[in-house]
Symmetry: C2
Subunit: 389 residues, 2 copies
C-alpha cells in the first residue's frame, strides 16, 4: 500500500523465473489517470543500460502510462540485442494495456553483460498485468528486490489517517551501494494523485533527489541503471502548492534513502557525515563525500575506531575552502579534533551502536551538507567477491 496509496494507480509483482531463487522478479505499475504526467532522473554514468536509454526517450514528452521493472538482469552492455529486448518489452506491454509503447517506461537491475531471457520476461509481464490492483504496491516492491532484505516503501501523509492536504505521495525503492548483485542499482518509483504538470514534477523531483538519493553514497560506485521516476495521476483533483509538494516529496525520498542505507547488508554502521560552516554548500558536500569514500575511514568505523586522522586526511584531498589548523571534528558528539590537532580523548567516543554521526567544522562560512554512507566490512567484501553481479 505505498505506490498504490495515491488514487489512480494499480500495480503488481510476479515471479517470471529470471531469478534462480524463484522469487518475484517482474513488476508492473500503471497510471490510470486522468493525467499521465511524469518526470524522471537517471544515472549520469555514460555507460548506461538499454532501459535507461529507452526510458529517457519515453519520459522526454512528460507522459508515462506504465512502468515495467525487472530484477534478475540489468540489460546493460548488451548492445543492439539488449535495446531490442527493452523495445520489445515496451511493445508487448503496450499491446496488453492498449496504450502506446512510447509511454511504457522500463527499468532493469541485475548482472551487467548478459541478455535477458525474453521467453520468461514477457510471460511474466502478462502475468503481472493480469494481477494489477490498487492494492498491488507491496507486491511490486517485493518484485524489484535483489539482495535487499526487506521491501522499501514510503508515503505522504505518513498514514491513511493522518491529516492531509487532499493529495498523497507513495514510493518504492530497491538497492543500495553495499548490496551485491546489481552493481548497487537504485530503482525508485514515486506516485502521486496531485494535479501537477510535467515541468512542475521535474522541478520537484530534482529538488528532492538532490538532497536525498544524491547524498546517499554507500560505496562510491555508480550504477549503469539508477532510475527515479515520478508519476502523477491527478486523481485527487487537488493542485498543491508547489513548494509544499516539494517538501512532502523530499520527505518520501528521504525515508526511502534512509531505508536503503539501513538495509545495506554488508554494513554494520550507518554513518551521517555533516560538514558545517562551509564557504558553500558545494564545499560542504565535497568534503563529506571525500570522507565517505575513504576506505581507511570506513574500515576504522567498522573497527569502532574514532580515527579522526583519517577524516582530516580525506578532507585534505579536497579543494574546499578551509585552513588545516582551523578544522574541528566531532564523532557522536565528542570533539576529538580541535583546531586541526588533538581534541578530547578518543576514549570518550562510543561507536558500538549502529548510528554514527561525524561533524566536520570547516570554519570557512555558513553552509552545510550531509552525506549518508556505511562502513566497509568483511561482509561487504564477501558479498561483492563471492557472487558475480
Amino acid at each position: 500500500m505505498s505506490i498504490t496509496a495515491p488514487a489512480g494507480f494499480r500495480a503488481a509483482g510476479t515471479a517470471a523465473g529470471l531469478k534462480s531463487s524463484g522469487k518475484p522478479d517482474v513488476a508492473v505499475v500503471v497510471n490510470d489517470g486522468p493525467l499521465q504526467h511524469a518526470a524522471a532522473v537517471f544515472t549520469s554514468n555514460r555507460v548506461a543500460a538499454a532501459p535507461v536509454h529507452w526510458s529517457r526517450q519515453v519520459v522526454s514528452d512528460g507522459r508515462v502510462d506504465a512502468v515495467v521493472l525487472n530484477s534478475g538482469g540489468a540489460n546493460a552492455c548488451t548492445g543492439a540485442v539488449g535495446f531490442q529486448n527493452t523495445h520489445a518489452t515496451a511493445e508487448y506491454t503496450a499491446e496488453a494495456l492498449q496504450i502506446s509503447s512510447g509511454d511504457v517506461f522500463i527499468c532493469s537491475t541485475g548482472l551487467i553483460g548478459e541478455q535477458l531471457p525474453m521467453d520468461k520476461l514477457l510471460p511474466g509481464v502478462s502475468d503481472a498485468i493480469a494481477q494489477l490492483s490498487t492494492a498491488g504496491g507491496q507486491g511490486a516492491a517485493e518484485a524489484i528486490m535483489t539482495t535487499d532484505s526487506v521491501p522499501k516503501n514510503a508515503r505522504h501523509p505518513a498514514s491513511a489517517d493522518a491529516p492531509s492536504e487532499g493529495y498523497s505521495i507513495g514510493g518504492m525503492a530497491k538497492g543500495a551501494g553495499m548490496l551485491a548483485p546489481g552493481l548497487a542499482t537504485m530503482l525508485v518509483v514515486l506516485t502521486t494523485d496531485a494535479v501537477l504538470d510535467p515541468a512542475q514534477l521535474t522541478t520537484a523531483l530534482r529538488a528532492a533527489t538532490r538532497l536525498t538519493f544524491d547524498r546517499t553514497d554507500s560505496d562510491g560506485c555508480m550504477s549503469t541503471n539508477d532510475t527515479v521516476v515520478l508519476l502523477a495521476s491527478g486523481a485527487s483533483g487537488v493542485t498543491p502548492d508547489l513548494q509544499e509538494f516539494e517538501g512532502a516529496l523530499t520527505g518520501v525520498c528521504h525515508s526511502l534513502a534512509q531505508q536503503l542505507i539501513k538495509d545495506a547488508e554488508g554494513a554494520s554502521h550507518d554513518i551521517a557525515i555533516t560538514a558545517v560552516n562551509a564557504a558553500s554548500e558545494q564545499d560542504a558536500e565535497t568534503v563529506c563525500r571525500s570522507v565517505a569514500r575513504s576506505n581507511l575511514f570506513k574500515t576504522a568505523i567498522f573497527g569502532n575506531d574514532p580515527n579522526w586522522g583519517r577524516v582530516l586526511a580525506a578532507v585534505g584531498t579536497t579543494d574546499a575552502a578551509f585552513e588545516p589548523d582551523q578544522l574541528n571534528v566531532s564523532m557522536n558528539g565528542v570533539q576529538i579534533c580541535r583546531d586541526g590537532g588533538i581534541g578530547d580523548s578518543r576514549d570518550l567516543v562510543d561507536l558500538t551502536g549502529r548510528d554514527v554521526t561525524v561533524e566536520i567544522d570547516l570554519n570557512a562560512g555558513t553552509e552545510t551538507a550531509t552525506i549518508w554512507t556505511n562502513d566497509l566490512t568483511h561482509e561487504y567484501v564477501h558479498e561483492n567477491s563471492a557472487y558475480s553481479s
Copy 2:
C-alpha cells in the same frame, strides 16, 4: 647496500623505542658530498604533517645534508607542539653532525594525531648517528618499515658488477596503500653520486615519480606524510646525460613502486590496469584510476571474478573521450568485452594467479597509461579496522 651504494653516503637505523614492538624505528642518512644537492616531492594533501612543512622549507634552496626518518608516529595534526618537535629534531641532528639545521630533512610515519615521544626519539637519533656507515643502507631501510613485511631497496646499475656509466643510483622505500598503520604513508629516499644541480635533480625526480609512484594507487587514500627525496653527492665526479639519468632514476623508482604494491599485505592480487588508444595520456590515466578505485571491481578480482561490467561502470563515470559502444576490455589477455558488449567467455579468464592485467581499449586516440593497484580483501578490512593508525 642500496641508498649507500652510491659513493658519498652513510646511513644507519636503530631502535629508539617509538614502536611498542621494539623493532628499529629511527634512520639517519648523511650526504658527505662533495655536493649536497637535493630535490623532493611531497604529498599534495592539504592536511600535511609537521615534517612535510619543515622539509619543504629545507629543500627549497636545493641543499640537504642529512635525512632523519622515524616510524612509530606520523607527527601529523599535532599543531604547534608537533612542528616544534620536528624543528628540535633537526637542531639536535645538526649539532651532532656539525651542520646547519636548515639542511636537515625530516620524515615521519605512523599514527596521526599523537605527539612523538621526544625523550625516546632524540637518543635514537644520537644512536643512529654513532652507527653511520657506508654499509648502513639496509639498516636504514629496515628502520622505516611499518607493517611492511620486507624492506624495499633498489639500485642502478642493478648490481655492483653490472656495466655502469660511472655513477650509480640507490633507493629505499616503505609503505603502500593497503598497509595499515600509517595511513599508507610512502617514504622514499633516493641517492646518487652523479654530478647534478638541484634544478636537474628536480626535473628528473618529477619525471620519474610521475610515471611510477604517482601511478601506484593501492586504495585511493592519500597520506598526510608522503615524501620522496633525492640526494646527489657528486662523489663519482661523473656528469651524466640528463635524459639517461632520468631513465635510470625512473627504473629505480619503478622497482620500488612495484615492491610496494607486491608487499601490500592485505592484497591477494597485484593489478596492472592499462588504458590504450586514449585521446590523451590524461584520459588514459583518469580511466585507469577510476577502475582502480572501484571497490566493486576490487572485490570482484579478490573473488577471481572477471567482472567486466564493473570495469565499464567505472569507466562510464569519467569524462574521458570514448563511445560506450566502442569499448573493449581484456583481462589476462582474454577480450571479454567487445564493442561495449559481450565478448569472449568469462570462463576463459584465469584469475587464480597473483598478477592480473586489465586492458581497456578506448578507441579514441593513440595515448596510453597504466595504474598499478591491488584487490580489496578481507585482510585489508581486518588490517585497517583492527589497529588504530
